[in-house]
């Protein structure tokens, strides 16, 4: 009854035998042992389980693991480069955007995928983009601050990188 699937998670290749009803978040957490992705509602309503699947943000509690077969996944554990934090991670820490931290992985991944599409967003655009991830602790103020600060930082980095490349 189990099905064999292959996933690339944070650049690493994994193979699992899973029941066809297993969700992606379960497999990431329980089989791959990457517990950064959180499950809070299990029904697609909170965004705490958000991961990036083939470049798109998805609520991984709504994706069957078998449907992710062959796909590329980014979880929070793959966001930093070794010990070097991603600008979003650093901004979340510096701006007080983290309290209990349970929503943080989903928030950071949602923000990351949003900033890739819209590198210089307004606060309102950020609010709209982050609407799907719920946080009960922070009241969101500092989360929005952090995302906007990170967008500045990332543009700065890009500029330097381009210049450096020339």
């Amino acid at each position: 009854m189990k099905k064999r699937i292959e996933l690339t998670i944070n650049g690493e290749h994994y193979e699992f035998n899973v029941e066809p009803w297993r969700t992606l978040v379960e497999v990431i957490r329980e089989e791959a042992g990457l517990t950064g992705a959180k499950e809070s509602c299990g029904t697609g309503e909170c965004g705490n389980c958000l991961v990036i699947l083939d470049g798109k943000p998805v609520n991984s509690c709504l994706v069957l693991a078998v449907d992710a077969n062959g796909k590329d996944i980014l979880t929070i554990e793959g966001v930093a480069e070794g010990e070097k934090l991603h600008p979003l991670q650093k901004a979340f820490v510096d701006h007080g955007a983290i309290q209990c931290g349970f929503c943080t992985p989903g928030m950071i991944l949602a923000a990351k995928s949003f900033l890739e599409k819209n590198p210089k967003p307004t606060r309102m655009e950020t609010k709209e983009a982050m609407e799907g991830v719920l946080c009960r602790c922070t009241g969101y103020v500092r989360i929005l601050d952090a995302v906007l600060a990170a967008s500045q930082e990332m543009m700065q980095e890009n500029k330097t990188a381009t210049k450096g490349g020339k």
Partner: protein, 787 residues
Amino acid sequence: MKKHSVVGKSLTRVDGIAKATGRAKFTYDMELPNMLWGRILRSPYPHAKIINIDTSEAKKLPGVKAVITAKDIGPVRYGFVDTPRYPADQLVLATDKVRYIGEEVAAVAATSKDIADEALSLIKVEYEELPAVFDPEEAMQDGAPEIHDEIVPDRPCAWEDWGVARKARSYKAENNICAISQQGHGDIEKGFKESEYIREDKFYIPSTSHMAMEPHVALANWDPSFQKFDVWLTHMGYEVKRYWLARALDVPISRVRVRKAYVGGAFGGKIDPFSYEFLAAFLSRMTLRPVKISLTREEVFIACRLSHRFIINVKTGVKKDGTIMAQEIKAIDDPGAYRGSSPVVLFLTHGFRRPIYNIPNAKHEGIGVYTNKSICMPRRGHGSPQMSFSVESQLDQIAEDLGLDPAELRLKNFRKKGDVLPNGDTLHSCGLAEGIQKAMEVSGWKEKRGKGRDKNRGIGIGVAAMFNGAQYYPFGAAATMKLNPDGTFTLFCGAIEFGQGSDTAMSQIAAEELGVGLDDIILVSADSELCPIDHGNWLSGGIFVTGEAVRKAAVNVREQILDFASGWLEVKEDDLVLKDRKVYAKSDPEKAMTFAELMINSIQARNGDPILGKGFCKPVPEVEFYPSLSKGTGRWTNAYTFSIIIAEVEVDKETGKVKVLKLTSAEDCGYPINPLAVEGQVESQAVQGLGDALFEQIIIENGRIVNPTLTDYKIPGTLDIPEEINVNHIITNDPKGPFGAKEVGESSRSAAIAAIANAVYDATGLRIKELPLTPERVLQAFMDKKE
């Protein structure tokens, strides 16, 4: 005043990087080798007799390692309240009957979640339905269904275990009444007689959910070789949890170790002992394997407690100038099928309001009534949101009726520093007057109030207060510290980090006293084996009590350092300075030694003394044990926090939708140990209060929660928050708090709810007395007004 270098600074959280990288381990993330998954079978009926439970088929299912019903463990009782007057009324597993939908009836442990789920479906329970009652006012009537038989405790109650020498008695709920409280002072009749204007209003407040993002989880591991439990819990303080676990499982308390894991939000919802925690432990002992029970979101909504439902009648008498002369309150609390925290919330609805206004004559009657519904417990402010909404709405209306400015009316009646409350508590610090002036000024109150109705805009105010800890088990907190060979320090303290920032704040306090940086404090927190006693992070005693214990532990270490260094360096103690992991003489900085050298030398010169410190603190050092819950007499706490919020809203007359434009807060937390964290706490509460004011409510039909999902129970998202939340620190330096600090975690939520409701009035002229102010309710109020 002395300049601080670590406290008072907006330092980033010590757990920030762990949480930003997904490395922080939450209880929910914990797994152990060979672990089993537990699942719970719950009652589908609000009130029914259990005729028979047949577990034989479930037991046969391959992979099932244990099935448990009340037969296996007997009637094991527990409760948040277990006093001589009110014996614990909850059961780990229902015995003869079930009293609410969701009550625990049986549980299984299996090798996978799927097998556990399948096993549940194989348990056959035969029920006989009983008439149920859902409305507290009906439940109090003669002839209403009786929810509880006489409860006869089979052992001393918790309070007796904790030193209160009184004899426990049985409890028979007459007319389903599970708690009564009567408090007051002055002469209420005289007060009303002397009043020139009297108003009476009735308010209705529904249950809400704490909705911490991490669902409730327990992982228990019974080690037969040491006869000991290791448990990981989503909790808010380990002492109470392990007390109840030890008692229910009949092991000595030292044989239960609560381990540290991060907790993903709590807000009061993780204080109570829960059946699933006991069940994980029982199942682990039965199977000799670790057992984890993770609840689903729906289970959390139904069985992990709600905020208290209240009906509150407020009668207030004032002079024409707004001076309050008398206030009489009649409150009905509906805690559901078990008592929950009913006696406590009835007391606190009174206690939290006493420090705000100087009301010479007051009477407060509260009654708790069983109904066949989910159980209610503290949620952030524990009764204050409900009472603050009611009283603050009415005061606003009184000001309106008398043609007074509602802010001025409040200012006129505010208590001030030095006031002694009727129970004997003294306000050693009080930022009410300064706070309201600041909030009025920053929000533009004078220019805006009463001027936006044509634009459907309004501005409103709310005021609330909070205890800074109180005397509950284990009545105090302690901390220990040791000097390390590299000159850093390890701090051991029981406070649990659930988002509020206690790990950071405790480290800051210790670092400040020792003249080192935040990085020089290595923290061991929330492990019941390693850390000394701690009263837990509820009733907002975290900073005021545990923080003071930590400060004293650091002072104790500092004294030892000074004592040794003064001898070794031959310098007077008062000439010594601690800075950057060094101690040196002010007069001659050459005379110095590093902390690392000091440790080595102390060991050599003082028979191995490595420098160990301890500190402790009690919420009200002057008194023993508890205040009386039912009469409210006796000291309650040693400091009060004050929150003022001014809200600005816009109301859409077509849809009835309320939009909160701006929230301005003035927060008297004494002294902000970490201003960034304080602002985070206020913003958090402002937005939670926005949800409470406008849309959060648990809807219960015939005992069934019909909205146990995040689609149907909406909490605020990014699009709901105001453009601006402005937090103003009112620094009052409480003489009893560490560095002058008081709590900040609970009172602004209440202030925000009241402020938003009052702003809706200012915008519309509609006084809505039932929460939340949903679009339907606002539209209805518009229609009622037209008629």
